[in-house]
Symmetry: C2
Subunit: 386 residues, 2 copies
């Protein structure tokens, strides 16, 4: 079977039916994401990241893949739930809500807002709603306002050690393309320039070719737990955001540089003993503080497949095909649940399921279907050209 | 070799020399705690929990075991460092400091203060210093003031779900005995009554015999990630605090109840497949949100040995001896590092070192030597009576 077909069939016949069947809260709207191995709901709290990401996913598929009315209906249920319940008085998004929509955890960082903006923008396009388009734009502007101090009053650092974090510039580089149609062109160019510069010139290290999660505000590396932290999956995911920007700007050299970074991070973070990509590493090889450092996570491997498929699309060279096959074989032989459908999220270092859940506080209807769709699109091009 | 002798010799010839040799910052005072397998410093940040705990440990040994001048000197170095650098303007303790003593992370919870109060009280006794005694008392009173809202402005919960946490009543039950000499007798009785009631009547569940980490403010269990969370090591450690209170109050029935709880938690949390005690569990058997749930941690096993040794002292029955031997065999065959001395802190489920550090952000000179000392004291009684 061609790769294209594997991804398309898995998306349509396995992944989406799982979420369509088990995740819909028909009473209060929105989605259950805490689903056990069989798809049974084991917790009803609603985490805003995952609510927004599922709205985005079904809207995106409706916009780009097929106009299925049920997909629009599923997206609407979550979009309405978030619009009604997700925001505080400042338009900032809570971290989590009860099943009914009452706020549980404060808007203590800005990432709920990023995923909400993505969700509303795709849903606005799918539904043709001006109200959602306005909401997407306002949410985006609110993120920019909070950019300098994304944790607000919940920032625990005293300011003695000035570090900045990779996540926000990384997410902005994707978010701005998602919202391109509804933002001013100058705003789009400004944010692309900002995030490309931060990702490729500040967080990506010239000498090692590796991306660090935190650097000093002057761009230098800092020898501390936070300053030594490497999250390989994060760095690789950012590189496919960069490839998307390179495609938009028709900059093949830039795509080439992103591709080299993917390979470099993979060489650095591949577990030679058991296979798979480590979750966290310390840039100096010291013990990381994250006890889950050696685990193999679904999103890390799926984002790597997306990155490699996009890289392959533009540079069909041996190294990329070799790494694609290596990561593909590991990922497809370890993460899918052949009995109950959908994918396991968390494997131990040896590759066995550490938790058998299909969804939880952080895993929802997002990385698996998004990667299926992205890889399908890339291989559609690659395999047609062959 | 008798157990007493194993603990005494390991404490004096292995554990203490390791920290005496590698942890002392002779330039700025206080201690390095980030030590790799060989004892080399890999990070110089100073975490207030661990600074305070090392002050406490050396002061305690000076007060109760032997008046070695070097022990007093080591304790003084950390006590002075903490007094000069550890507090904000309100007398609350920061979470972490730079090597030089500049504050890094805000006093975002009250546990730094708990360990500082313990440290200052023991050091006051060791040094005969009124200033440190006053500081210990003020820090204790500051903890009581913050008791109703221990996270202060860093509380992210919206208040919709009112849960209270086990850690503070648990720690208070130990802290109040530590400070008994310098507090008013009524205050001691009041806090003992409060913490015994919280631990044994609120967090310990009548039907299952298990301790939960969070319960609703009305005492009922809450079906949510936090509400289902079980930390077996925490519960077992609390039971030896309860046994100490039972001894002070000459209440054999109370000691008996604490002992039964130790055994019950052990039966619940022992890993039948690979041995050892799980780090986190979900009260309903659902997937816990802690990815490190199946790891085997040094402190969990050491606190269990202390609890079982104390239980044995008062109830030398077969079940306790059986469990003591089982936990002893696992712990002593997995955690000690026979090559470089001291103990590994973090093992994977299978029992292999996950991180080879001897100290870090959370592991310092505390659980290993405290358990050695406590077990030595218990077996001194048990083995003399035999």
């Amino acid at each position: 079977m061609k790769y294209r077909q594997i991804y398309q069939e898995t998306l349509l016949n396995d992944i989406l039916p799982f979420w369509e069947r088990y995740s819909l809260d028909t009473q209060y709207g929105g989605y259950y994401t805490c689903l056990d191995q069989q798809g049974r709901v084991y917790d009803t709290d609603k985490f805003v990241w995952l609510q927004a990401r599922q709205v985005w996913m079904f809207s995106k598929l409706y916009n780009q893949f097929e106009k299925r009315p049920t997909w629009l209906q599923i997206a609407r249920s979550g979009a309405d739930f978030l619009r009604k319940n997700g925001m505080d008085a400042n338009g900032s998004f809570y971290f989590s809500l009860t099943r009914e929509g009452k706020p549980l955890v404060q808007p203590y960082n800005v990432f709920s807002d990023c995923f909400a903006a993505m969700a509303f923008a795709q849903y606005a396009k799918a539904s043709g709603s001006d109200e959602y388009e306005k909401l997407a734009k306002n949410t985006y502007l609110n993120i920019l306002d909070r950019k300098g101090n994304p944790k607000g009053i919940y920032e625990k650092s005293m300011g003695e050690r000035q570090l900045k974090n990779f996540a926000l510039p990384m997410i902005l580089s994707n978010l701005v393309l998602e919202l391109e149609d509804i933002l001013e062109p100058e705003e789009v160019e400004r944010t692309i320039a900002f995030s490309v510069d931060e990702v490729m010139e500040v967080f990506l290290q010239k000498d090692s070719g590796i991306i660090y999660e935190n650097v000093s505000t002057d761009g230098s590396l800092h020898d501390s737990f936070d300053g030594r932290l490497i999250n390989p999956g994060h760095g690789i995911e950012a590189m496919w955001f960069m490839i998307d920007i390179g495609v938009r700007q028709k900059d093949h050299k830039f795509i080439q540089r992103a591709t080299e970074t993917i390979i470099r991070i993979l060489e650095y973070s591949w577990d030679e003993e058991f296979g798979g990509i480590f979750y966290f590493m310390d840039g100096k090889g010291h013990p990381p503080q994250q006890l889950e450092w050696d685990q193999k996570l679904w999103w890390v491997h799926l984002e790597t497949l997306v990155a490699l498929a996009k890289a392959w699309e533009h540079n069909p060279v041996k190294t990329i095909k070799h790494w694609y096959k290596k990561v593909h074989d590991y990922t497809w032989s370890h993460f899918p649940d052949p009995v109950n459908g959908e994918w396991f999220g968390y494997l131990n270092r040896q590759g066995q399921p550490l938790l058998t859940l299909k969804g939880g506080k952080w895993k929802g209807c997002f990385h698996v279907p998004r990667a299926m769709y992205q890889c399908y699109k890339s291989f559609e091009k690659i395999e047609t050209e062959q």
